[in-house]
């Protein structure tokens, strides 16, 4: 690792992202509550709950939504350790650091003071920091559940059902495929460079390697784009895109959608200022 810190950490980042994507695809194929629902219902329902968390002004209501999201995750075969490591801990570290100074910086009634009396933790500061952390945790849990329990193709088809332009959906689909191709290519380039490195590289040398790798990767990307275009053209592609959307709503889906919307509306009503 010490031979090329930035290169090694980039390799770790790439493999972690690819690993997470594989975990998502595996969970999405498991039998579970959310997996069994129509993807349009999932997208609408979970987004309605995210919106409810964003609109709610009461910590209790947001915590109830977070608890509901966790139960929903367990019923969908998403384990607590998966949620804890992928969402809760990451959000707590990131948002916690951001929210911490709010305890001192938010003006209000002091509840705790430093011995010299210069620093005060205020009641309003505690509420502001807790509101931020709970809201972000809840929203992140809900969006991660969507990503973990829905195959990417189904999310794309749902977007098309909601009127997102065809070109956009097609580009999203193609991008998703190429991410894995390019990630593998970048990993191979960096790994081969790392394996041929002896001694400690200076920062400037590492920067040059990373920039050159990115440059080669871009060249490869453009070549790949041209190859794909030629392949599409040879299959009679003329710029018009058509996606097959074979979704059929069942009574269970309608019931689930009503449930999601009802809970979201109740949360918004209870959480109003």
């Amino acid at each position: 690792m010490s031979r090329g810190g930035a290169i090694a950490s980039t390799l770790v980042g790439l493999s972690t992202a690819l690993g997470n994507a594989l975990v998502s695809e595996t969970i999405a194929r498991k039998p579970g509550l959310l997996q069994s629902l129509d993807p349009r219902v999932k997208l609408t329902g979970l987004l309605a709950l995210v919106l409810a968390a964003a609109l709610s002004h009461r910590i209790g209501v947001i915590l109830a939504l977070w608890l509901g999201a966790t139960v929903l995750g367990l019923l969908s075969r998403v384990s607590l350790p998966t949620l804890a490591t992928r969402v809760w801990l990451a959000v707590l570290l990131f948002t916690g650091v951001i929210a911490l100074p709010a305890l001192f910086l938010t003006p209000g009634t002091p509840v705790l003071s430093s011995p010299d009396g210069k620093l005060h933790i205020t009641e309003q500061g505690i509420v502001a920091a807790t509101l931020l952390i709970t809201r972000v945790e809840t929203a992140a849990t809900l969006t991660t559940l969507l990503a973990l329990t829905t195959p990417w193709m189904q999310i794309l088809k749902s977007l098309r059902s909601f009127g997102v332009p065809q070109e956009f959906v097609m580009m999203l689909n193609m991008t998703h495929r190429y991410i894995f191709v390019l990630a593998e290519s970048a990993s191979q380039m960096l790994e081969s460079r790392n394996s041929r490195t002896v001694g400690i590289l200076s920062s400037a040398a590492q920067r040059a390697i990373v920039a050159r790798t990115a440059g080669v990767l871009m060249g490869k990307s453009i070549e790949l784009g041209n190859d794909v275009y030629l392949a599409m053209q040879s299959r009679a592609f003329r710029g018009d895109t058509k996606l097959l959307t074979g979704f059929r709503m069942t009574s269970r889906d309608f019931l689930a959608l009503s449930g999601f919307l009802l809970i979201a509306m109740i949360a918004i009503w209870l959480g109003r200022a």
Binding site: G5, A6, S9, G13, L14, A17, A21, S24, V50, A54, H57, V87, V91, F94, A99, A102, L105, T106, G108, Q124, V127, L131, L132, R135, V136, T138, A139, A140, T143, A147, F168, M170, M171, L172, M174, T175, H176, R177, Y178, I179, L182, A183, S203, R207, A208, V210, A211, A214, G215, V216, M218, G219, S221, I222, G225, N226, Y229, R238, G239, A273
Partner: protein
């Protein structure tokens, strides 16, 4: 810089979706109108490339590392419309598939990172690189400045969005409901890291890639070259596009009096007496001293000798545009003189 869900109020998110929507609509229209179906796979692959570049850690002076966002190189190679779409797609996949960045805040992230950064980067690169040959060192410098400014401008927009939250969204006890820091805290906190670290990462990766492409495949740099060939000087700008620019500037000048229709004062742009009214604290003596150093010749866009407020606005607009043009001509003249002096043996 990715804003997660929960940091911005739903109404801010709606406004930011509208802003990003305008960028998406204009970009899609431009892509549909000006280019062929070849651009669809190209933008897709470039979006994937941006996604991967965001994972590249770059060591920076001082022992720290940061990652670039790749928007500047996208703007230089694909042009602003292609870059807006490619970066937005990369951000959408990050949010929807990898759960990085929010869904309600996707509009804000796309507006800041895809729309603002792409436009700033493209404009800055074109301005500095001008008609320089594709393989000139000036283009490498231009790309570094473009990358640095683009990411910092995106960070500034993000900081302002954060800083506006406690002003507009708080409960009856003054508790901030979303991002808790005011502009006074959010802007310096956000900008410090970006000016010192993230901006350098974007500058380094953009300049490194432009330098690499100059050797490997200079033709890829022609989208934002202003027509410059790999070895020769560029063609002059077409008179049609200049005429359109002049018409737009004239139209904007005549629309300047619309400013007097606005109710109240722009937030933070107060006079000393205004500050007392808005902040309920009297200005310090230091502020009084600073205020007396320079007195504007046309205070509040109202020259003292003009009675009509609308005409005063119009006159101020004309004066401002005239000053900018004079300054620009002067810089051009000095630049030309320096280039001529440098080329004569």
């Amino acid at each position: 810089m990715h804003i997660p869900d929960g940091y911005l109020s739903p109404s801010t998110c709606a406004v930011m979706y509208t802003g990003a929507g305008v960028g998406w609509y204009a970009s899609l229209r431009r892509v549909r109108r000006t280019l062929n179906a070849r651009l669809i796979p190209l933008i897709s692959v470039f979006a994937a490339f941006c996604f991967i570049v965001m994972m590249f850690n770059l060591p920076l002076p001082g022992g720290t590392t940061s990652h670039a966002i790749g928007v500047s190189i996208a703007a230089i190679v694909l042009g602003p419309a292609g870059a807006i779409l490619a970066t937005s797609i990369a951000l959408a996949i990050q949010a929807l598939f990898f759960g990085d960045g929010g869904i309600t805040t996707l509009g804000a992230n796309c507006f800041n990172i895809a729309v603002v950064a792409s436009l700033v980067s493209y404009a800055c690169y074109r301005l500095i690189a001008s008609n320089a040959p594709l393989i000139s060192r000036r283009r490498v410098f231009a790309s570094a400045v473009a990358g640095y400014l683009a990411i910092n401008m995106a960070a500034l927009f993000t900081a302002v969005e954060f800083g506006l939250q406690p002003i507009f969204f708080h409960d009856s006890q003054g508790v901030p409901l979303y991002a808790p820091y005011s502009l006074r805290v959010a802007v310096p906190a956000m900008m410090l890291g970006h000016l010192a670290v993230a901006g350098l990462a974007e500058a380094a990766i953009t300049a490194g890639m432009v330098a690499f492409l100059q050797h490997a495949d200079p033709a890829l740099l022609s989208a934002a070259s202003g027509g410059a060939a790999a070895t020769t000087a560029a063609e002059p700008i077409r008179p049609n596009s200049l005429r359109r620019l002049w018409i737009t500037v004239a139209l904007l000048m005549f629309l300047a009096p619309l400013g007097i229709l606005a109710a109240g004062t722009a937030w933070g742009e107060w006079s000393l007496s205004g500050e007392t009214h808005y902040t309920s604290s009297s200005p310090s003596s230091a502020l009084h001293r600073l205020a007396s150093i320079w007195t504007a010749p046309m205070p509040a866009y109202a020259p003292p000798f003009v009675k009509s407020a609308s005409f005063g606005y119009l006159l101020s607009a004309m004066f401002g545009v005239g000053l900018l043009l004079a300054g620009s001509l002067l810089v051009q003249k000095l630049w030309k003189r320096r280039s001529t002096a440098g080329s004569t043996p």
